[in-house]
């Protein structure tokens, strides 16, 4: 089993930011700040190690439909999203979404017709962009509201009266982001580290570039690593009693010549029984942590699945890596594509992904 994502993460410390602001220049660059917070270009007094959580709560059946607009929820649930991570947005205001929409649509038009200037306030007839708050899609009070971006356009050879269709959509979210990290950022920054997009690649590129230019942030691809995929296996199988997972499919890539891909499909009832057998022992030991899934349980479960496979095919999957997991509840690929098929598990999925995205933050 691969060790957990061990990355040394340095988080800005809020206290230091406030303190140092009050200082005079000479003191700001003085001995203490040079040593204590290392230097003035460094804002990180303490080195903290951040890892992927080793324990997480099992998915509670959540009725998001009561909190979130069903139309929005349907949009989130029905499709496959390409994920990226985003560094905190500078000077982003949830109250300015209308003006952002105008700017973004003008930007898209200007990018499409290179060299032709576009008036920002004008209503673009080729692209209609709407940025909106996806109300209700938060979990803890530190989480900034999720932002939904939709681009509508007419097809190239459309009739005059044909309505515009949605050609691209995306969202920026933060579900149960590490409060320590979120609070360490100054008020100028809004942390929405997880970005999902769906639609033509050039539009994704333009939208990203607009966000970069406007909020001085950076985008990077968010792969779902081996460990996170294993977590998805456990989280989804654990839900079987609430909603049928139908099947558990795992795609393994084994480094052989020629490269070997193995699709490992498990009957839902078998998967559930195996999970219970792994889980029960642990649960019996730590009665107080009921409702939590531990990392040991997850790895134990995967070990059990691998040894079962070995018994049948004499092939040890430990040598390979998990590249894709799917159940009726969702699909996750190591390339950073995710599909959430059931609205009840959206929060749990996004929580795990937010964590992955925060681990990617450079500072």
């Amino acid at each position: 089993m691969e060790p957990l994502g061990e990355s040394v993460m340095r988080t800005p410390h809020n206290g230091a930011v406030v303190q140092r602001r009050s200082k005079t220049r000479s003191y700001r660059r003085s001995y203490r700040s040079c040593l204590g917070t290392t230097s003035r270009l460094c804002l990180t007094p303490a080195l903290t190690t951040r890892r992927l959580n080793a324990s997480r709560r099992a998915v509670k059946p959540q009725t998001l439909t009561e909190r979130v607009d069903p139309a929005h929820l349907a949009l989130l649930v029905k499709s496959e999203w390409q994920l990226s991570y985003v560094t905190p947005l500078y000077q982003f205001r949830h109250t300015q979404l209308k003006s952002y929409s105008k700017q973004l649509s003008a930007f898209i038009v200007a990018e499409r017709q290179q060299g032709l200037a576009v008036e920002v306030s004008e209503l673009q007839n080729s692209y209609r962009v709407s940025l909106s708050v996806l109300q209700g899609l938060t979990e803890s009070e530190n989480d900034p509201e999720t932002v939904l971006i939709q681009i509508h356009s007419k097809p190239l050879f459309a009739k005059q009266d044909e309505p515009q269709r949605s050609v691209w959509s995306g969202w920026l979210t933060c579900i149960q982001g590490s409060p320590e990290y979120l609070c360490s950022l100054s008020k100028d920054f809004t942390c929405l580290p997880l970005f999902g997009s769906r639609g033509p690649e050039y539009l994704s590129r333009v939208v990203k570039s607009w966000f970069q230019k406007t909020f001085d942030c950076c985008f990077g691809p968010l792969e779902i690593n081996h460990t996170s995929l294993q977590w998805f296996v456990a989280l989804w199988v654990d839900c079987h009693s609430q909603s049928n997972i139908q099947h558990l499919k795992m795609l393994w890539t084994v480094p052989a010549e020629p490269p070997l891909q193995i699709m490992y499909t498990v009957d839902p009832q078998d998967a559930w029984d195996l999970w219970n057998s792994v889980k029960k022992e642990e649960a019996a030991k730590e009665a107080e942590e009921v409702g939590c899934i531990e990392l040991e349980e997850v790895s134990g479960y995967l070990e059990a699945l691998k040894s079962h496979f070995y018994r049948h095919f004499r092939l040890d999957l430990s040598a390979g890596i998990l590249t894709q997991v799917s159940t009726a509840l969702g699909l996750a690929k190591d390339t950073g594509r995710i599909k959430m098929s059931n609205s009840r598990h959206v929060i749990a999925t996004l929580t795990l992904l937010t964590e992955c995205a925060l681990l990617k933050m450079p500072i």
């Binding site: 990355s7 040394v8 993460m9 340095r10 800005p12 303190q19 140092r20 602001r21 005079t24 220049r25 000479s26 003191y27 700001r28 660059r29 003085s30 001995y31 203490r32 040079c34 040593l35 204590g36 290392t38 230097s39 003035r40 270009l41 460094c42 804002l43 990180t44 007094p45 080195l47 560094t87 905190p88 500078y90 000077q91 205001r93 700017q103 003008a106 930007f107 200007a110 290179q114 060299g115 032709l116 200037a117 576009v118 008036e119 920002v120 950022l185 100054s186 100028d188 920054f189 970069q212 230019k213 406007t214 001085d216 942030c217 950076c218 990077g220 990617k360 933050m361 450079p362 500072i363």
Partner: protein, 728 residues
């Protein structure tokens, strides 16, 4: 005007009077003749200008000899010396008022070469004439081209800016449009950018299509008001306005050269749109520095009026401009763009806001992580990026926290050869690490790399660690002093690394290098190159107290001291002697200060170590008592016996030391040229010994000189065994 004309008239007469009195001298006669001719020419020029200022409207052009003559005079003066501001005013007024129709107007415009400056008033009046008189379009174009040519010579621009709207109105004239756009580009200020002007330009754009002149003007509008207009310029478009075939340019340059004036900046360099790199397959999209562009979403609290006064960083092109606007510079939309401009870096040095630096760090960290940690490959772009980053850090004399955080991760996956100079350069910039973390973050990965890499990596790492120590000590010496003054004022702030914490970190670093160096020298067979880099480090480490005011002295380990002392090259021994000399100075001065102030304490162990080394060194080089009982070198008696080396205790004195043997032989030959047999021991006589030392010192072994002078008090012959090392 008339007054000045009269004045020059009288000047002329007085000078001609003078020439009469000096008739006797032939030479002065010639000068006077020249003077007279010059004055005559001036005279006719003055008259010509006068003619143009007084000529009545409607005077016929054809057959007007007077006009022809005066035009010729003006042209001659204009192309040789240039025209004075007054003459330009008069001639421009004459031309633009179409006093005598179009053809003299064109002829006059073509010869308007200013000698020094162009009065703004004249240009403004001429622009007004554009609207009033019926000037043919081609002449209007000629006039605007002339204004563009002499734009930098116009003495002030405030009134021209005041009639910005008036000039803007000519933009609808299709033939004038490109030139008017250019003129507007030169005149535009933030307050000139309005939505109705943007709309007018967009309307023109829809009519004329993608025209470079419209694009450039609009992109300037975007710089000032990104909330009004957006535009993306294709990378293949050439930057800047077309440089027209301007008839005045060469003449103007000739005149200015002749007048000894600094050739003013040509109009095309009055602005620069940053040249975009040639578009290619973007594999390393994170490594592209963002372009400087103005921010779209300013802080909401700043109201419109204060925002009007802000100056975007893009608009500043010189240091003096930046100083003038220091208080109202608007930061660009993307902080990463600051790294691409040297001017912006100057500003970054003064930026105080934490969130600004955080923005920069987010961008930089992301670029480093994406390109080097998540998918590391070497490429020209990567190299350039890191070199740029290094020079920025060098300029700011500090490392960025994001590059520091990146390095801690990167060191664990680094093979030690990928972009080695750059990575080591970045590493040497990292700030002081608390001693509790330094092992995990730095020493563990570096130890692994050190022992698995080539000699060159070992040398490179030694150099890097030396630079790191040097920077840490420099920070300390600069800021420790300030802190003493400040600490009482800010006693409420928590101090998370104290002086002792800093000392611990430095000590850890020096000990770490000691361990690496000892083992490295063993592994590489005491390689001279490696030894030299190691001695570099100890040169820094030996001077911590005197040079950097840090009350900490750490001695080198035996694994470094003995290989250096017994090295076969004289340079290493000389440098070791210098280092020991510096250690001695530092320790003595620390000791005396310690007694006086009792503010710090240097460990007794350090003094013991130093004395131990010193005694050995003196015994070895001077006293010929190398295998003395209480030294580190224990060689069994029998073994020495077995080796058949005569007088083994004297084999490493100044004469027999392998590093100095050749010098001793050379000295011997020079001292006793007649002698056939070389007897080196004869140098040990009192007199030749002191000559020999003098000879050695003259070979450039200053370290040895300092060492001998400071550590050996009695100049006695070594044979006497009375040489004494000074001890504390």
């Amino acid at each position: 005007m008339a007054d000045t004309l009269n004045l020059s008239d009288s000047d002329r007469s007085s000078s001609s009077d003078q020439s009469v009195t000096n008739r006797s001298n032939n030479r002065s006669l010639r000068i006077a003749e020249k003077e007279r001719r010059k004055n005559e020419a001036e005279d006719s020029f003055v008259l010509a200008v006068k003619y143009f200022s007084e000529v009545e409207e409607g005077t016929p052009v054809f057959g007007n000899d007077q006009l022809d003559r005066n035009l010729e005079v003006v042209e001659k003066v204009a192309f040789s010396k240039g025209l004075s501001p007054e003459a330009i005013s008069v001639l421009l007024e004459f031309a633009m008022s179409l006093c005598m129709g179009n053809s003299p107007c064109v002829r006059v415009l073509k010869c308007l070469i200013p000698a020094s400056v162009v009065p703004q008033q004249a240009v403004v009046r001429a622009v007004v004439w554009l609207n009033v008189s019926k000037i043919p379009i081609s002449t209007q174009v000629l006039f605007i081209k002339w204004v563009l040519t002499v734009f930098d010579l116009i003495d002030a621009k405030d009134q021209l800016r005041a009639i910005y709207g008036f000039i803007f109105s000519f933009i609808t004239e299709e033939n004038l449009c490109p030139y008017i756009c250019h003129l507007l580009y030169l005149l535009t200020r933030k307050e000139n950018v309005h939505l109705y002007r943007v709309r007018k330009l967009l309307e023109l754009q829809s009519k004329l299509g993608r025209q470079p002149f419209l694009m450039h003007l609009l992109s300037l509008y975007k710089v000032f008001c990104p909330e009004l207009v957006t535009l993306s310029i294709p990378s293949r478009i050439r930057s800047g306005f077309k440089s027209y075939n301007l008839p005045w340019k060469s003449a103007l340059m000739g005149v200015q050269k002749r007048n000894g004036l600094q050739v003013s900046s040509s109009i095309s360099s009055a602005f620069t749109v940053k040249e975009k790199s040639i578009s290619r397959k973007r594999k390393h999209c994170h490594l592209d520095l963002p372009a400087l562009s103005s921010a779209l979403n300013k802080e909401p609290q700043s109201d419109l009026t204060s925002r009007r006064k802000m100056v975007p960083l893009v608009q500043l092109s010189s240091f003096s401009q930046m100083l003038k606007n220091m208080h109202r510079i608007e930061l660009p939309a993307q902080m990463g763009s600051l790294l691409g401009s040297s001017l912006a870096l100057q500003y970054l040095d003064c930026v105080q806001e934490e969130s600004t630096l955080l923005r920069l760090n987010f961008w930089l960290g992301c670029a480093l992580h994406e390109e080097f940690l998540f998918c590391s490959q070497t490429s020209e772009e990567a190299l350039q990026f890191l070199n740029n980053l290094l020079s920025v850090q060098h300029f700011l004399q500090e490392g960025f926290s994001s590059s520091e955080a990146f390095l801690y991760k990167f060191l664990n996956v680094w093979d030690g050869s990928l972009l080695r100079p750059q990575i080591l350069g970045l590493l040497s910039n990292i700030p002081v690490i608390p001693s509790t973390q330094i092992g995990r973050l730095l020493f563990e990965p570096l130890t692994q790399l050190f022992f698995t890499s080539s000699l060159f990596f070992k040398c490179g790492l030694m150099e890097c660690l030396n630079n790191m120590l040097l920077k840490w000590l420099t920070w300390h010496s600069v800021y420790a002093l300030e802190d003493d003054l400040d600490i009482s004022l800010n006693s409420h702030t928590s101090i998370n690394i104290t002086l002792s914490g800093f000392k611990d970190s430095v000590m850890e670093l020096v000990h770490f290098v000691g361990r690496l160096a000892s083992l490295g020298l063993q592994l590489e067979g005491c390689n001279t190159l490696l030894l030299s880099f190691i001695l570099d480090f100890y040169e820094t480490a030996s001077d911590t107290f005197l040079k950097f005011d840090l009350p900490l002295v750490v001695m080198p380990p035996p694994g470094v001291f003995y290989p250096a002392l017994l090295a076969t090259d004289p340079v290493s021994v000389d440098r070791l002697a210098y280092i020991m000399h510096r250690y001695k100075l530092n320790l003595t001065s620390a000791k005396s200060q310690e007694k006086r102030t009792e503010a710090f304490h240097i460990s007794r162990q350090t003094f013991l170590e130093f004395n131990h080394y010193l005694v050995f060194m003196v015994n070895c080089l001077w006293n010929c008592r190398m295998f003395h009982a209480n030294t580190d070198l224990h060689v069994r008696e029998e073994l020495l016996h077995k080796s058949n080396v005569p007088q083994p205790w004297a084999r490493f004195d100044f004469i027999h030391h392998p590093a100095f043997m050749s010098y001793a032989v050379d000295f011997h030959q020079k001292c006793w040229p007649g002698r056939k047999a070389v007897d080196l021991d004869s140098i040990k006589q009192s007199k030749p010994w002191s000559w020999y030392l003098e000879y050695l010192f003259n070979q450039g072994f200053d370290g040895l000189k300092d060492f001998v002078h400071s550590s050996i008090t009695k100049q006695v012959t070594p044979g006497d065994e009375r040489g004494d090392s000074q001890r504390r």
